[in-house]
């Protein structure tokens, strides 16, 4: 049996600081996400909100924990992978600097990963084989993107949002309805008791052949529904019954799902896809999973969805995708920089 290839992956593109060791792109040896561990034990106090954004105080304990959990020594890792784009520059820089430092100190190869591509890898990680090409949908707080996927490493962006991301629309509509943050889970929970046909919210499809998305009109439609046409009065949400709020949540969620499913179907037709991939935080939404599943069944396509534990930001997806680059001999050097946009 060939020697296992162990890759240390690091992810700091937005809110989460994460590190993971994955063997051969599939075997998860460890996965640490800062918000899930009691890091205060390691630096003797509560983590200030500021540091959670800056990542600086979390990166060392998170990487150390990932190596300890695997368990593996840094000297025995085969490569170090970092999501260097896209994201918030000051966040990305922390991970990029840490990864470059580790690569230099241990003389290990460095692998640069696109964070959004890694979300799709999360959908492929458990599959034995995949019929390509695939149409790949990433839906999260920051992204709503469709890719033509010819292989794990060959991804072409063919559609994305022109205003709000789907996950952001969930958050903002939750705030309109007075539901707690994060909006994705709270809308989903509230929508369970609602009628998705109660309110007919708009489905923005843009031009006939467009694969781009637009969700700001839907958000505004919910706002006008709750506040009245002249926007002069107070929000009516406080006077609404739980049932009315549930109906609005369900109707809004259905509108988002309908648009995502319709665009994915257009994408299938455009690239003659055999498989559909779904990743990103909103991929945890059951209505979306079910909507895509029934469309895929009708179209005779296979749907691969990221496991729920790998939908939100994590480093498993980074280390897993890096394995494909390792095998292909695609490495970065120490001039690697963080890039806000990809």
């Amino acid at each position: 049996m060939a020697k296992e290839i162990n890759i240390l992956g690091i992810e700091t593109s937005c809110d989460e600081t994460a590190a993971s060791v994955v063997a051969d792109g599939k075997i998860v040896k460890s996965s640490v996400v800062a918000s899930q561990v009691k890091l205060h034990e390691r630096f003797g106090g509560v983590v200030p909100e500021l540091a959670s954004r800056a990542h600086i105080e979390k990166i060392y304990p998170v990487v150390t924990q990932a190596l300890e959990d695997a368990p593996i020594k840094i000297e025995d890792v085969d490569a170090i992978a970092i999501a260097n784009q896209p994201g918030l520059t000051i966040s990305l820089i922390v991970g990029v600097t840490a990864a470059k430092t580790l690569a230099l100190a241990t003389d290990k190869p460095l692998i640069a990963i696109n964070h959004v591509h890694a979300h799709l890898q999360a959908a492929m990680i458990e599959a034995e084989s995949i019929d390509l090409p695939a149409i790949a949908l990433v839906v999260s707080g920051g992204h709503t993107s469709l890719y033509d996927c010819e292989s794990a490493l060959e991804l072409e962006l063919i559609g994305s949002t022109i205003d709000d991301a789907a996950g952001e629309a969930f958050d903002k509509v939750a705030s309109i309805l007075g539901l707690p943050y994060p909006g994705g889970p709270s809308i989903e929970k509230t929508a369970k008791n609602g009628n998705p046909k109660a309110v007919r919210f708009p489905r923005s499809m843009l031009k006939k052949d467009s694969l781009d998305f637009s969700f700001s009109g839907l958000k505004t439609a919910v706002l006008y529904h709750c506040q009245g046409q002249d926007m002069k009065g107070e929000s009516k949400v406080s006077e609404m019954s739980d049932q009315e709020i549930a109906d609005i949540a369900a109707s809004f969620q259905q509108a988002v799902v309908d648009v995502l499913v319709a665009k994915t179907k257009r994408g299938i037709e455009k690239i003659k896809a055999k498989t559909v991939l779904l990743g990103g935080g909103v991929a945890a939404n059951t209505a979306l999973r079910e909507g895509l599943q029934s469309m895929c069944e009708a179209e005779g396509k296979k749907l691969l969805v990221a496991p729920r534990s790998l939908c939100t930001d994590n480093a498993v997806m980074v280390a897993s995708l890096a394995y494909h680059k390792y095998k292909a001999g695609i490495f970065a050097d120490l001039t690697l920089e963080a890039k806000a946009t990809s």
């Binding site: 954004r53 707080g141 949002t161 205003d163 991301a165 700001s216 958000k219 006008y224 002249d230 926007m231």
Partner: protein, 157 residues
């Protein structure tokens, strides 16, 4: 409204973007815009136009930075470096300053901040152009501009 303030009504998303383009084309660099307005008042669409007018490539994909907090638009074609910020998710001025806000403001950059009302103390010492956006009807929006520099004063013609 003082005499120097300037008000405009937009009848559609398209008009908002076109109006933004006019502003963007006149920018010289070094401007900081603070946009203040509720959900759905057109902040992102106005910025989409301003960024396009200032030469940002791929206007279609100038989109909301609520989640990622800062979008950067630059490229070989862009005249100016454009930073599109969103304070919606920020909890404190310290967080805003920790983004490196000061480093984003320079001679050849334009900084556009959505939900600027959440970070006003951080903006009080710089010459911020304020845009207040509000709903008039489902499609109409009102924009009030404050502290416009002289070279942007021809916008109402």
């Amino acid at each position: 409204m003082s005499e120097k303030d300037f008000e405009i009504i937009s009848d559609s998303v398209e008009q908002t973007i076109e109006f933004g383009k006019k502003i963007g084309a006149l920018l010289k660099g070094g401007e900081v815009f603070g946009l203040i307005g509720n959900l759905g008042t057109g902040k992102t669409h106005l910025i989409k136009g301003i960024a396009a007018g200032a030469g940002a490539p791929d206007m279609e994909h100038v989109n909301s930075p609520t989640f990622v907090i800062v979008n950067e638009y630059s490229g070989p074609e862009a005249r100016l470096d454009i930073f599109h910020l969103d304070a919606y998710r920020l909890d404190s001025i310290a967080e805003f300053e920790a983004l490196g806000f000061d480093d984003l403001c320079y001679r050849d950059s334009v900084v556009l901040i959505e939900w600027a009302d959440k970070v006003l103390p951080a903006l009080k010492d710089i010459d911020t152009i304020t845009i207040e956006l509000s709903h008039i009807s489902e499609t109409q929006r009102k924009f009030i501009f404050k502290n416009l520099p002289g070279y942007l004063s021809g916008l109402d013609q």
